[in-house]
Structures are given as structure tokens and as C-alpha cells.
Amino acid sequence: MFRVPFLVAIALAIAFGGGIWSTRLALDATIGFGAIKLGSWEAFPEAQTADADPYAKSHRANAGKLLYATAEGLSFTATTDDSGARLSGSCTYQLTGQTPTARFWTLFATGPDGRPPAADADLPSSLNSRMVGRQPDGSLDITIASRARPGNWLASPQQGQFRLTLTLLDTPAAGSSGLIDLSMPAIRRIGCGNV
């Protein structure tokens, strides 16, 4: 007797539930297509342009972030280390290698709440290219840990997963369409717990 309404209800529930759920998932999970991926680093050089794909436009309309324009810079984010494991506050990581050509760069870790650290934080929760000491060949060697480390130390959140953001300021990489050979620093896990 209630078969037809029942069937209609199934169809509508799946359509609305599935449609809304899949859209939320898609907009949360990705900033769109057109990412350049270098190791575990990911950047979207076209996300702020009119050429961005519909997912990128929808994501930026929903997130309301102020994106870097082409002459300003390019933001790379990493949520995993080079082996593909999620970055965790209880582990220690080593960031080594070169950044693409840029006048300056900034590096900071974002906790699970997604808020960047405070500029006047007690711990060095953000670094920039003027602050860090270099290797003799000019490459980077930064230790990312929640406890103090000798050398270049970036304080990560005490626990939970975190995300690294490396922003290159005034960089030719922002206009990159994959033609320039870019390389980003490697993120290697040294160990977890009290190491």
C-alpha cells in the first residue's frame, strides 16, 4: 500500500543525502584539480584565477580565504611525510633540501583546528627564510618537533595531526605550468615518542 511513497522516499533520501554529503566531502577534501605535487607538498597556482576549475571556484567561495595572487606568492601545504604517513605531533621530522626560487619563504605548522600559530608565540612555531641557518651548500635542515631541538627548530603542535604550510613569496613557481623543474624539501620522519 505504501510501496510507491516508500520508493519515492528512498530515491529522494539518496538524492539529497548523497548529493549534499558528496559535495561537502569534495569541497572539504580538495581545493580542486590543477594541483602541482612535489613529494608530499601540494600547491594550487591557478586556484585564484578565472581559469580555476568549478571545484576550485566552489571551494574558494565556501572557504572565503584570501588567496595569494600570482605576483604575491604560492602556498604549498603538506599533510603527510615522504612515506605517506600523516604528520603527527608526537613524532619528529626532518625537513631537508632546497625550496624553489623565491625571494622569501615562510613555514609554519597548523594544528587540528586549522588556525595558524600566533606571531608572538613563545615557541618558534613559524620560521622564515631570514631566520634559519643554512648548510654550507645553502640547503635547509629544519627539525620539526614539539620539544626543543638544536639547530633550526620548528615547534609542532603537542599532539594530533598537523599540516605544514610553506609559502614562497615572489616566486616564478607561481606562474608555473609544470615547465619549470621545481623541487621542494623532503620531509623525513626521524622517530616518534621520546627520541
Binding site: 539518496i14 559535495t23 613569496l169
Partner: protein, 203 residues
């Protein structure tokens, strides 16, 4: 008895077919709805950057962003970048964005239209004498401006915008705490005012 059982199972088969069909219809509907939301969200979103910048207050002035999200939901997204935002409407007069060269290590400006698409961007190295001086206008306004370019405009960058509404984001890089006062002064002195249209009567 067995005939009755056959009849029941047949009916049940039909029911399953119908349920399958309903699920299939639902999935097609879900895919359609997904596409509709993704494509139309930029048009009706109330959380996009332009709506938030308008909510900062009146247009044609720069608003400095803090570390905590303000009432409009905007905040600095990098602890080492100080930033100001300004919304503008060039339907009547162009907007002129200026900031002096007082020795900040780095500044950059991004100009976006109301749908958050980049129109123009510049930084201190790509500008003349590290001075920010940009006029954003419609093609017609800029054609009229070029025809009688006032004195002191030789270094000004003229930017054509197809849309009449948009916003500008001015960033400056804090290399060290010691440059914060200079950067604050730089951002306070930055202007985002309607362009003063001086007619030829003056000459």
C-alpha cells in the same frame, strides 16, 4: 502451496527491482545535485572572500586583519604576513591604490573581482621605486584618463577591470619583530580611495 510460494517470490523480485530502481534514481539525482551545488555555490555563497570584505565596513578604505577572525570572519592566514583588505566599486570613478616606499622588506598587492578572480597583482620589486601606485578602472574610464593623463601619473599602473566591484589585498612580510612598526606604518598609510578626477578646467 508451491504456486503460492512462487507467486510471492515473484512479487518480491519485482519489489527488489523497484527498490533497486529507486536507489539508482536516487544516485542519479545525487550526482545531479552535486553538480548543481558545485557550479552554483560561487553565485550564492555568503562566506566568500568578497562578501566577508564587504562586511568589514564601508568600502574604499583598508582594513587591517588581526590574528583572531573578526566579525566578518577574516583573519591573517600566515603569522608572518601582515595584511589589509579594501573593497571598491568603480562603477562611477576608478579607485587608486597607493602606499609609500618607507622601507618594508616586502609588500605585495592582489586585486580581485567580486567573484574572487585575480585581476592584477604586483609586488615591491615589480613596481617603480617600490612605491605602490595603481589605478583600477573600467576600460572606458581608463581610456578617458589616458587621453589627459594628469601630471605625476607617469609611474602609475593602470589596470582595466571588466567587473565594477572587487577588492584588494595588501600584504607585507614580517621578517623580524623589529620591522613590525614600519610595516604598521606602511599599512596605515596605504590608501584605497576613489580616484580624484580632475577635469581640464584646471589647466
Amino acid at each position: 502451496m508451491s504456486r503460492l510460494f512462487n507467486f510471492l517470490s515473484l512479487r518480491r523480485d519485482f519489489l527488489w527491482l523497484k527498490i533497486l530502481f529507486a536507489i539508482f534514481t536516487g544516485l542519479v539525482g545525487a550526482a545531479l545535485l552535486h553538480l548543481i551545488i558545485v557550479f552554483s555555490l560561487p553565485q550564492f555563497s555568503q562566506r566568500d572572500a568578497y562578501t566577508r570584505i564587504i562586511a568589514e565596513g564601508e568600502s574604499h578604505r583598508f582594513y587591517r586583519l588581526g590574528e583572531q577572525p573578526d566579525l566578518a570572519g577574516l583573519s591573517k592566514e600566515d603569522p608572518m604576513m601582515e595584511m589589509s583588505v579594501c573593497s571598491f566599486d568603480i562603477s562611477e570613478t576608478p579607485v587608486r591604490l597607493t602606499a609609500p616606499n618607507i622601507g618594508v622588506p616586502f609588500w605585495s598587492l592582489g586585486v580581485f573581482d567580486a567573484s574572487s578572480d585575480e585581476i592584477f597583482s604586483i609586488n615591491d620589486r615589480t613596481s617603480a621605486d617600490h612605491v605602490l601606485d595603481v589605478v583600477v578602472g573600467t576600460p572606458a574610464q581608463l581610456a578617458a584618463l589616458r587621453k589627459s593623463l594628469p601630471r605625476g601619473f607617469s609611474q602609475t599602473v593602470l589596470v582595466e577591470a571588466q567587473q565594477t566591484e572587487g577588492y584588494a589585498v595588501l600584504r607585507s612580510f614580517v621578517t623580524h619583530k623589529s620591522v613590525v612598526p614600519v610595516i604598521s606604518r606602511f599599512l596605515e598609510q596605504a590608501t584605497c580611495a576613489p580616484f580624484q578626477w580632475r577635469t581640464r578646467v584646471q589647466f
